[in-house]
Symmetry: C2
Subunit: 186 residues, 2 copies
């Protein structure tokens, strides 16, 4: 059935995360990750484009969840409502891995390289949201503004949610934060 031990990418990702958490991102080499997974450095780079990506394994699923959440919002929903619905859907996906997420966030906070990559992921989500809005017939300028505003609202609300122990009602926090941004805009 399986010619080699199964799920090489999963094993590499797990080995990477556990080593990063044990010793810190910078102190771990790709060769060590591969060794723990019973593979070689070269194979690591066949499954991940670089050392950082092993930390962001969930990012594509999050992006997809947000984008479909935007696309699936009621046809009459205003752009910003669709965006928040999208982020709520993405957050629901994140919540499945809530305890794991805590570790991931702490890890990212500990490394400038990982923060840099996270900004790229956030930008990709914003771009995907803007594109999804475009397919809803929203004009590009409004779409970009709504996507960025939604990203900011989500970032702030998500931080508050995590700081409160990740037990509260995140969609409600999103709406509340949106209201705060609304009043900031005057």
């Amino acid at each position: 059935m399986v010619r080699w031990e199964a799920d090489a990418a999963g094993r590499l990702q797990h080995a990477a995360m556990s080593l990063y958490l044990e010793r810190g991102y910078d102190a771990v080499t790709v060769a060590e990750i591969a060794e723990r997974a019973g593979l070689t450095k070269r194979t690591f780079f066949r499954h991940f484009p670089d050392k950082r990506e092993a930390v962001f394994a969930g990012a594509p699923a999050f992006l997809a969840a947000v984008a479909s959440g935007v696309a699936d919002a009621g046809p009459g929903a205003a752009p910003m409502d669709a965006v928040l619905a999208g982020f709520a859907a993405g957050a629901a996906r994140l919540a499945e891995y809530a305890p794991y997420q805590r570790q991931v966030r702490a890890l990212i906070a500990s490394s400038a390289d990982l923060q840099e990559r996270e900004h790229v992921k956030n930008a990709a989500v914003a771009a995907a949201v803007a594109e999804a809005l475009g397919r809803r017939g929203v004009d590009p300028l409004t779409a970009r503004l709504a996507a960025h505003a939604g990203g900011a609202v989500f970032a702030v609300a998500y931080d508050r949610w995590v700081d409160d122990g990740a037990t509260g009602d995140l969609p409600a926090l999103l709406r509340e934060t949106r209201d705060a941004m609304r009043s900031v805009l005057g």
Copy 2:
């Protein structure tokens, strides 16, 4: 007077930019940059923390201009008005180098590495704006939201301004874009 040829950092930065523009960011090595500047690879890394930073030489000045613009806004100005005043001040600084800026933006657009670094710079500006707002007595949550909203407004307005030939009235565009975001928020 000068023991070595003067302004090593400036020569390195200029050599880097011209080589990047000639051959593309990825195709240039640090050793080549240093050689064109009449220095060595080791000396490049004494003046720049990494290969990317040679592209963002103006970033600290921009950040400082935005931050002081926020701080110097009239004491009665609402948070979002202070933020936009800050970005207008930063934009004025950028406009001094308008033709150069075009090349820099094209260069950044051509390299994923440079885009990644630019996101970090934008995040640093947002953090500085939020901190400046904090010193104005704005509560942290409002400050963060206003900083992010301002960053999004600036990004959109600046792109439009550049696309229109960088000749229009940027502060007016900023206000216009802010109004657009206001109406997006509903």
